[in-house]
Amino acid sequence: MAERSTMLRVDHLSKVYESPSGDVEAIGDLSFTMDAGELVCVVGPSGCGKTTLLKCVAGLLRSSGGAVELDGARVTGPTPSMALVFQEYGRSLYPWLTVRSNVELPLRHKNLSRAERDRLVNDSLLAVGLADAAKSHPWQLSGGMQQRVAIARAIAYEPEVLIMDEPFAAVDAQTRADLEDLVRDLHRSRGVSILFVTHDIDESVYLGERVLVLSKSPTRVLETLEIDLPAQRDQITTRALPRFTELRTHVYGQIQRAKAGAAVSSP
């Protein structure tokens, strides 16, 4: 594979929530980079500011210090090069629009021809296996299918980086496995870079090419772990590999240490 260039650079990012009852330091000092076409999973103990990190990266939230750079350009607000998939699919899709209109909505302001827009929508619905559900409304679909709609909306937007915020936390285990494979397929077939945040350790190891383990809040990167599993992964054999178990045990240990470390340092 050709040498990948750096797509996303997060440099000494910090975020302090100011409130009258005292400031809360959500992100301490966080740096990492992501190459073009890479699939990076971010995992950390619950309440460690993962969502805050994503919002800062996506430009939805102003950081208190440090910088986020996308393809060399500083991110100061939402950019057309990034697309988000939220955890709460029920609140992220618009129930008054059909599946098709939901996917199409973000494309309306891109200067695309009608035909091009239709092609993108059809293509992305097909890619997530929802070509037949285009005329349904999101609430007529199961949770897993709704999250597929959100993924279709994100890939139709043709971003350089796809940001996913615990997208499968609210779906059942079997659906979750299918959706994980869908993400890996889309990553391989479309070459899009994916930043995938999860609290599920197995999921992070199964999906990621690299896993960033975060500390408890104020958040830092505890460890960057290369996942040296074969690129061709499937739910049964990959998860049965001894290396998979080793990696997940390692990450699990790190997370436990992150929790304990924070407990010791907090008053």
Partner: protein
């Protein structure tokens, strides 16, 4: 005997199902018209017949007399003369209330400082009973259609305005963040996010506004008018045409029902997604 048995077995469940359906249809008809018929009968018993109690029978007309007065006064050209001006004012008043209520409500709902600025004033104006404004509006606008429309709007706009403000404010934060992340433009955000998300609340406001509008239409015409339903009803009363007066009230009731039917039709279309979603949530 043997040959006939299967055919009986086949046909009888279908026949009994049909019979059951007919029975339930009959029952629902009976329920729908039962009470009105009872009321009419009771009314007929209490009402004075034209041949008894000479002198006061006019004050207690029976249903048939009122029905006759209804056809005499409201069916035909007199409908165009007396009812249409009222319906025109009502229609314009309702459309203006909806337009002003939604437009102003959306702006106020979206701009926090405007909301804080206008809050107390809106509460004050909303608390004023609109009929009390009629003499002043008459003074300002004269005895015109505009004055009557202004009176209708002055009352009907509040439920629409306040519900729109609340609805717009309650736009889901994740949906808003989604719109931001995908850089959806301001107008598209208004049209595809803010207004649809507020539409259930807006429709609640419109429903309330409709009944207020009907009330104010009548009252404004009772005050100062030379045409319209309110004017005719007062005219009949002053001339002791009691049955005719009742017939006007019946017409008002019918207009109210018609408004509700039209509203229901529009509401089902606009909020189809909402009712569908609620049904799914209820399981």
């Amino acid at each position: 005997m043997n040959a006939a048995a299967p055919s009986i077995a086949r046909s009888s469940p279908r026949r009994s199902r049909l019979a059951a359906r007919a029975r339930s249809f009959g029952a629902s008809i009976l329920f729908a018209v039962g009470l009105p018929v009872l009321i009419l009968l009771a009314w007929n018993l209490v009402a004075k017949k034209p041949d008894e109690a000479v002198g006061t029978e006019k004050f207690y007309p029976d249903p048939l007399t009122v029905g006759r007065a209804f056809t005499d006064n409201w069916v035909g050209p007199s409908f165009a003369e007396e009812a249409l001006p009222s319906l025109y004012r009502l229609g314009i008043g309702i459309i203006a209330s909806i337009a002003v209520g939604i437009a102003a409500g959306t702006v106020i709902g979206l701009v926090p400082w405007l909301r804080e600025l206008t809050g107390p004033v809106l509460e004050f104006f909303r608390a004023i009973p609109p009929p009390a404004l009629i003499p002043i509006v008459m003074l300002l606008l004269g005895i015109t259609d505009t004055m009557k429309i202004a009176v209708i709007v002055s009352g009907a706009v509040w439920p629409i305005l306040l519900n729109t403000i609340d609805g717009v404010r309650a736009t889901d934060s994740v949906m808003t963040e989604t719109a931001e992340a995908f850089r959806i433009t301001r107008w598209q955000r208004l049209w595809f996010l803010v207004l649809p998300s507020a539409s259930p609340r807006i429709m609640v406001g419109v429903r309330q506004g409709l009944s207020v509008a009907l009330i104010l239409m009548v009252i404004s015409e009772m005050f100062a008018s030379s045409s319209g339903l309110g004017y005719r009803i007062v005219y009949f009363q002053r001339n002791f045409l009691i049955a005719e007066s009742w017939s006007g009230i019946v017409l008002l009731g019918l207009i109210g029902v018609l408004l509700a039917v039209v509203f229901g039709f529009v509401e089902r279309r606009v909020l189809r997604w909402y009712h569908g979603m609620r049904e799914v949530e209820r399981g």
